[in-house]
């Protein structure tokens, strides 16, 4: 049985129509495609709705991913702070080099007597802290004359698991990456207490740094003080100085290890009252994570090369 054939005129006509559509301007093509997609939309919505009814998607467990992303974010922040600190330092060195006047005699290079050194410490958890304070951990050694400092045991601040045994000293800075978390307040034999940046007794000189393009512009120097709340204040900044929300607060040269500044935080609020001589600046600390378990302590040690030379 032979099948009925299509008309050759129809074939030619349809081919011509297809060719015309192929050569049609993009505007017409988009219009046609858009109209068809609009026409199909109710059906698509119905399909989607049916799918949702058929298999309600289970709540995805995003916690592991969230945790991994938070960790990655913290690592990136640390790298950024480090790069920012290095940029400030190298920019200052460049400035110094530019202003340096060549002297006919070259000065002999010497090594510093005191060098900064980082040691890693752990923040004692709630349970360990209680046991430590109640001398449970030390019980065995207590009778042999081993005793932790009374000041450390009585303190309410977080406790770090390093003390005099690691040559820690009061006011050593406690860091997380290149950002300052606080400093050592009381040093015991094996442990020490951490004074957070936001502690009302915390005080440190700090300077304002503003990033303009790729330049780090060093601004006014003030006194960073903890408020006892979640933030700090930067006081003693002259009202003539340039301050803006978002400016970063770094350690001053003399408190920066080998000149590499450390980050305290960012300006969250800056107000200048009419007639006032100083700015009122609020600073958000760079490290806001309350559950830090591992920190670094910046301690000052005698340069071993100098010691061995003697």
């Amino acid at each position: 049985m032979k099948q009925e054939r299509a008309s050759l005129f129809l074939i030619a006509g349809l081919m011509l129509a297809a060719l015309l559509l192929f050569l049609a301007p993009a505007r017409l093509e988009e219009k046609l495609k858009g109209s068809l997609r609009t026409l199909l939309r109710p059906g698509l919505v119905a399909v989607y709705w049916t799918q949702m009814q058929w298999e309600p998607s289970p709540e995805p467990d995003i916690q592991p991913e969230l945790l991994a992303l938070k960790t990655e974010l913290n690592e990136l922040k640390q790298k950024y702070h480090q790069a920012q600190g290095e940029a400030i330092r190298y920019q200052e060195l460049l400035e110094q080099k530019k202003n340096f006047v060549e002297f006919p005699y070259r000065a002999e290079e010497t090594r510093a007597l005191v060098v900064p050194e980082l040691v890693a410490a752990r923040v004692l958890g709630q349970q360990s802290r209680q046991s430590w304070k109640q001398l449970k951990i030390l019980d065995s050694g207590h009778t042999q004359g081993i005793k932790e400092s009374h000041w450390v045991l009585e303190a309410h601040e977080p406790i770090l698991d390093l003390g005099e045994d690691h040559q820690l000293q009061q006011h050593d800075l406690v860091l997380s990456g290149r950002a300052v978390l606080g400093r050592i307040e009381k040093v015991g034999r094996w442990s020490s207490t951490l004074q957070m940046l936001t502690d009302k007794d915390f005080k440190s000189k700090a300077r304002i740094i503003r990033q303009v393009g790729q330049q780090q512009i060093s601004g006014a120097i003030g006194l960073l003080e903890g408020t006892g709340e979640n933030n700090c204040l930067l006081t003693m900044v002259d009202s003539e100085a340039l301050v803006e929300v978002g400016d970063t607060i770094f350690s001053v040269d003399e408190e920066s290890p080998q000149g590499f500044p450390l980050l305290f935080g960012t300006v969250s609020k800056a107000e200048k009252k009419p007639g006032a001589l100083e700015w009122q600046i609020e600073v958000s600390p760079a490290i806001t994570e309350q559950k830090l378990s591992r920190v670094e302590i910046l301690r000052q040690t005698l340069n071993p090369i100098r010691m061995s030379a003697n």
Binding site: A6, A18, F22, K33, G43
Partner: protein, 167 residues
């Protein structure tokens, strides 16, 4: 009139299947083409001008959702119908349906993907395009076979039931 309305509804449903449902059938990187399956069905079942018009409409609708230029799929559908008719007219025996189905599907899928690749200027991806087209073709052919089997079994069941009822 009713037939035209039913055909329109069918086209709408096929488009929905192609756009929204086909992605749920992806298996081993292969995605079935419901448009190609319908095209084969119409080539085998319909005849004359109606077959040509349906194929052209299907090709045009496919073009609208393909991301490529308009008219390419339509042309391929018309050419495939014309080729089938040419083969049928020259053959003295009963037309080979399997060969026709494979010819139409192969021409449509390989031709469409190949032309899209050429127009995008990505000729270096010809292996990927060929593999994807052949995968779709195999998957769609299996789908056609499956549907034919289901139809055959249903027909069998229906004829048995009718006979039983008649007795």
């Amino acid at each position: 009139m009713t037939k035209a309305l039913l055909t329109g509804i069918m086209l709408y449903l096929i488009l929905l299947l192609e756009v929204a449902v086909a992605e749920h059938f992806v298996w081993a990187g292969m995605r079935p083409s419901f448009l190609a399956v319908t095209l084969v069905g119409w080539v085998l079942r319909e005849e004359g001008n109606r077959r040509l018009l349906l194929a052209a409409a299907l090709g045009l609708l496919g073009d609208c959702f393909s991301g490529g230029p308009l008219g390419v799929g339509m042309m391929l559908c018309i050419v495939s119908i014309w080729l089938v008719e040419m083969l049928n007219s020259k053959s003295r025996n009963k037309p080979n349906l399997l060969f026709q189905a494979l010819l139409v599907m192969g021409l449509y899928l390989l031709g469409l993907n190949g032309i899209h690749m050429l127009l995008a200027g990505k000729t270096e991806l010809w292996v990927v395009t060929l593999r994807s087209s052949l995968g779709t073709m195999v998957y769609s052919s299996l789908l056609v076979l499956g549907l034919t089997l289901v139809r055959f079994l249903l027909q069998k069941f229906w004829s048995h039931s009718s006979l039983g009822y008649a007795r």
